[in-house]
Symmetry: C2
Subunit: 330 residues, 2 copies
Amino acid sequence: MRPTMKDVASAAGVALKTVSRVVNGEPGVHPATAERVRAAIDQLGYSRNESARVLRRGTTATIGLVIEDVADPFYSGLSRAVEAVVIDHGCLLLSGSSGEEPGRERELVETFCARRVDGLIVVPAGDDHTYLRPELEAGTPVVFADRPPGAGLDVDTVLADNAGGARHAVRHLLGYGHRRIAFLGDDAAIFTASERLRGYQEELGGLFDERLVSMRPPSEEAVRGDLGRMFALDDPPTALFTGNGRYTVTTLRALAGRRVALVGFDDFELADLLDPGVSVVAQDPAWMGRVAAELLFRRLRGDGGPPEHIELPVRLMVRGSGELPPSLPT
Amino acid sequence: MRPTMKDVASAAGVALKTVSRVVNGEPGVHPATAERVRAAIDQLGYSRNESARVLRRGTTATIGLVIEDVADPFYSGLSRAVEAVVIDHGCLLLSGSSGEEPGRERELVETFCARRVDGLIVVPAGDDHTYLRPELEAGTPVVFADRPPGAGLDVDTVLADNAGGARHAVRHLLGYGHRRIAFLGDDAAIFTASERLRGYQEELGGLFDERLVSMRPPSEEAVRGDLGRMFALDDPPTALFTGNGRYTVTTLRALAGRRVALVGFDDFELADLLDPGVSVVAQDPAWMGRVAAELLFRRLRGDGGPPEHIELPVRLMVRGSGELPPSLPT
DNA sequence: TTGAAAGCGCTAACAT
DNA sequence: ATGTTAGCGCTTTCAA
């Protein structure tokens, strides 16, 4: 069906190996011969079969990336940054979304491994990564980003300072006089959510009140219900700390214009254009992607040091919503 | 290095072909034998080498997707939808961002083709796709999405009704009494931008004034400059029509709170939470992705009909900004 | 500078 | 139910 090197060789009247030399830019081919070969390639529309090459060479120049959801701006930003580094290294990126399902995460990782990626960057959805053992033993470097691997696996990780960021947000609100600060976040089974809860709780100390905590997948109705319940308390919250970008948006929508002090984890486009501007603890997804990818390539270049655990700082962006004063319950 | 079927076979004391049968779930293996094989697989940490399989079978169960930028919400939404369809068909998606560079687009396409993808979905950056000829002749189906291919190639396309949407936006603003409506859009070399300009111009008819048109890559300073120039005219615009999502956001930021009637092309998150809510002509990127992917799989199943040219409708979302009345120049 | 032969790991076709 | 053999398209090794 498709032309092969053999076809090109006979069209150009040379041996297969000569075609291989031309295709791969190897030296030692007479310019005129090379020209003939190139003409045959163009004429036949030849394109090298990468599978055959990979099979023979044993290396794929391919990196695998598993994220939670490409359509989430945090992960698409991370993705783009990883892609840029991967391209810089002359490799191809395979990526896929786990949709927060451990089974799908594993499927993706295994698919990538079957394609013999040279390395993997994983934002895990599950908490059991023993299935990675054979890969690690085969020498495939793996970097975990955004969330650490499950117990029993000590590999490179690149995480944000989730607890520290949460502490910062709470400290900021406390500084503006708030004493009743609610936390609305994702399911506590998710590492980042539980870390942010931890920071929140640590900083609040004795002010912590579990009635002001809501952790679940973000749906507008659920958030509205939880908020309603909190505001109906005798001592309702005067400020909100939202546990991630999607949560912040959902909460803003559920608030329907009600002015309550709010700091969100994760920056998002237009946060500055809302009224008031939304103060956030900002992560830098592109930075995380870049750091993870560069660490991976360092491993691929042979750096065999002990696993590294990189923690990226986050920073508070003051825009207005986090600086509203506590108001009396109405 | 890594265990192969041969290794598994000798570990399990069977022939290589038996291992192949177990790995591929082929019938005709004694359960006890199969069990022994599976044990050997687990023990050795065997994973099938996909390159070898592909080389032998000639089919990859892989689809390639070239978009402009994963970090753009329009394309990440499209991407996610394509991925979902591809997974449903038991295939793997390879995707990459062209960054609006024709050279990179071609590189990606050629990389994917060298990996022998079964089909391609392309959002083109360039306007010469003759390089696709060999692929098309080899029988690889290609679907263009969001933008059509360059001249001389008649393949399946899935586009939005760009001109119709622009006409609708302008008609809407005219209905609210506006006569001076500016268009701020991307470089006219980009298909969607020029189509939207065309719709805008057609609907405006005699009211068209080229001084109210600005087409260039969106940077905040440039947009601010162009807006300043337009507003300084004797008869300044009373309404703006922005040519895509990124442009709308950039324009809102450049307006810095100034209330001017505005309709944007492309919906975006939080458009409803701004004040006033931003009226837009909304496309559905997920729908476009789904339609393109399904068309591609129809081709893969053997549908050899003439190229289809699908145009997806868009719809106006009324939220406030597009319904502001013309105000007197201040 | 060029070529012939072996073999990467797998599946298809054909035995047994 | 199981095994043997050939060969996918390429690169590697060795020879001319």
